[in-house]
């Protein structure tokens, strides 16, 4: 009887629900698969919707596209820099919230979460206005990587709350007696932090880093507003290519980015498996 009842709620066994799930998965994956397939399409114009034949020449075109490569380089630079800073800032925020009690704490927690809750366009626009007001918008006289500074600042602002959330989850499993023990044994604040807390946080730090990196690499809206003609990132460059003319070259570049995301996700999962 018990198994009968349990079976009633075994929704994953019901065919009707399984069908919904499968259709949902097809709905989600089909466009991406089609995009990858059509990156090999031998079509010169007409929007790359009709299959004309197999070719890899658009991959060659993409890899030879200097502007695209430059944009990709910019995206990587921004992602690496903003990841470092996001994890740093996120760690400070996470430890701050985990360790201390203070008045208006729930309000502060809400405040830190705001950058990721408000619509991206509000953030993009406000940062663009801020940079313009500060006179930082003209980046043409700055050398690399400082010309990317505006975008990096923007990326840090919307990704460090995510980093803080991930790290804070990891901190929840920390036994405070360890820190007390360290202090009993003579360590000062800084040593206790560095030698006891940080090692425990490590899996959270790495997860936060991977998350920030992906968020930065993928961002479009905020970057669109804070970048300029000389600081184009990969997604922004693809956007202008799409506006101009749809060719399989866009599919090729997109497929490369998808592969990168897959690799990063795979690494993240492997690391999580190893850490736990």
């Amino acid at each position: 009887m018990a198994t009968d009842k349990a079976g009633l709620f075994d929704y994953s066994r019901k065919w009707s629900l399984r069908l919904v799930f499968v259709f949902g998965a097809i709905f989600l994956y089909l466009p991406i698969i089609v995009l990858i397939v059509f990156s090999f399409n031998d079509s010169r114009r007409g929007g790359n919707v009709i299959w004309k034949g197999f070719t890899t020449k658009y991959y060659e075109k993409a890899f030879g596209n200097e502007e695209l490569l430059l944009a990709f380089g910019n995206s990587l630079t921004i992602a690496v820099t903003s990841t470092f800073a996001s994890v740093l800032l996120g760690t400070l925020a996470a430890v701050f919230l985990w360790r201390f009690r203070f008045p208006f704490k729930p309000a502060f927690e809400g405040f830190i979460a705001l950058p990721i809750v408000i619509p991206e366009i509000c953030m993009g626009v406000s940062l663009a206005m801020f940079f313009s007001q500060m006179g930082w918008m003209d980046t043409s006289n700055r050398i690399w990587p400082f010309n990317l500074g505006n975008i990096i600042i923007a990326h840090i602002t919307f990704s460090f709350p995510f980093a803080a959330m991930v790290i804070r989850t990891r901190l929840a499993s920390f036994n405070p007696e360890m820190a007390e023990a360290a202090r009993d044994l003579g360590a000062n604040e800084w040593q206790a932090f560095r030698d006891v807390l940080v090692p425990h946080m490590r899996p959270g730090l790495i997860a936060a880093a991977l998350l920030s990196f992906t968020l930065s690499l993928d961002d479009f809206v905020v970057t669109f507003f804070t970048s300029g003609p000389s600081t184009v990132t990969f997604p922004v460059k693809i956007y202008s290519m799409v506006r101009f003319s749809v060719t399989p070259e866009i599919n090729a570049a997109s497929t490369v980015l998808i592969l990168m995301t897959l690799v990063l996700t795979y690494l993240a999962l492997r690391y999580q498996r190893l850490a736990s």
Binding site: F9, M129, F160
Partner: protein
Amino acid sequence: MEDAGRQPLAFAAFGLPVILWLALFFVIPLGIIGLYSFGENVSITEIKTTWTLDNYARITDPVILELFWRSIWLACVATVICLVVGLPMALVIATASADAKPWLLLAIMLPFWTNLLIRTYALLNILGTRGRLNDGLGWLHAKGRAVLELLGLDGLGLLAEKFTPLTLLGTPAGVVYGIVYVSLPFAILPIYSSLERMDRSLLEASIDLGADQWGTLRRVLIPLALPGIITAAIITFIPALGQFLTPDLLGRGQVDMIANVIERQFKSANDWPFGSALSLVLLYLTFILLALRAFGDAARSRRTLRT
């Protein structure tokens, strides 16, 4: 956890950088567009805050009101679709075997990790008049015609002779499709989370007391999962309302949402004050929703404490 006063130095060391960063790169920028929204262009590049209400007055213009109304409506439809499709999918994952669960979750989240631009661009091939969706529908139509012929019913006009492809690009339907496409994984997670934490014994008790499957679903499971469903609704609706890429690429200029008009003020129309006012109204709408949610949470916890 300790009181801030006990270790003021550490408290400041951890807290100040965060506060300063947010103050400088989040609060002040928002303050600037706040000021701009009460300002006007005095020259091509200068904006003076004259504390004028003109920009906000323009928002009461019927064209702009229609824009807001349309955006809210499209975001609502997309959110409802995400919930209706997401709940069964979340149910499947939550009740799957412990082995299958992480894989199913990964399967749902993987498209979400893909770049938003790429995902939206991918829909161009699917939704076009000669795209894959119409290909599929055309195939179904042909099969339907074949079956009718077999049965000798083809003269009755049950199915049109020729298949007319659906026009989705450049229509609100296409934009809604796009919003659902980019939001669905994000909507499934909170519902799944809520279902995971649910007490199964309550469902079994409902059956014991004589309710049937559907009744249990309706009166026990969904109310219990409601917090997760509401969270899913809010985190789907807010980004949907502020969508820029989807209406831009899939709407083809025919279906503008708030973000498209805002973008135009800053990129081509050079009317920063008006764009700032629009951004702030969008922000207020977001805050109102979040506040409603917070009040709802508080009311619900007060109710449960009282019982």
